[in-house]
């Protein structure tokens, strides 16, 4: 239920695998990780959300914050998500139009940055 985070490099992207619940309680942890990555020069991020069980608006806010950060470096932030219950909150908030959302990590990594 708590957040799990792991990241690795794949091609020109950095893939962050997130598991558990991204909510008002755990979102700060995810924000920290994204800030660290951007500060260390990773500007093309793929956030793999296939193991995320719950996402609230604070979690969304962290993803939006990440997007703004990488954009400041002409980078990209791509999401991997096929779970309907998670996609729902992106739809409600109109963020499906803001984030590139992919069906698989391979797909996201292959995408033109």
């Amino acid at each position: 239920m708590d957040l799990s985070l792991s990241s690795r490099t794949d091609g020109d992207k950095t893939v962050v695998e997130v598991g558990g619940e991204i909510d008002v309680y755990t979102a700060p942890k995810l924000r920290e990780r994204i800030v660290e990555l951007v500060e260390s020069g990773s500007y093309n991020l793929v956030i793999d959300m296939e193991r995320v069980e719950f996402l609230d608006s604070t979690g969304l806010g962290v993803l939006v914050g990440g997007l703004k950060r990488v954009r400041a470096h002409d980078g990209s932030l791509r999401l991997v998500c096929t779970q309907d219950r998670i996609l729902k909150i992106f739809r409600i908030t109109g963020l499906t139009k803001v984030f590139p959302i992919h069906d698989s990590v391979d797909d996201a990594v292959a995408a033109q940055s």
Partner: protein
Amino acid sequence: MPTVELRFTPLPAHVRTARLVAVSLARRAGVDEHSLDEVRLAVGEAASRAVGRHAASCPTEPVLVRLTDGGDAFVAEVVDVAGDNDVDHLHDLPGADDDPALDLFGDDLSSGVELAVIGGLVEDLRVAHTSVGTAVTMTWPAVSPVRSPGVSQAAVPGAAFGHTPPSA
């Protein structure tokens, strides 16, 4: 009507407690499995918003979540007493443009987006802004009530406990 009230220090951790209790009671009240995801998210959003507002303006006051099994409906009320300063408005949901969606979010903790999410999720929603604070009332139909095995619910005529949402 069977009622559970939860009052908690405005901390992010307790938003989880509110979700946990709301989902557990909604399930028992007979809210269908599909809608439980809505209950989880909507109660979580309302509680996050209340926690944020209390933390900012009255961190020693507890947030109130009241859950009522109304027989054919499950009602969740989330009440803050953080006043009417900086009350967010029910945003229009963002449309085709990119930027409005982004503008919903601050760089840090979200601000105002919670009500937008709740508005997009919950059909039967009332939001009462008063000078005292906000009361968010969300109702879901309860279809197949799971009743106590062998113990009649009707035997004990519970009632709400005389707490009222902040009035104007």
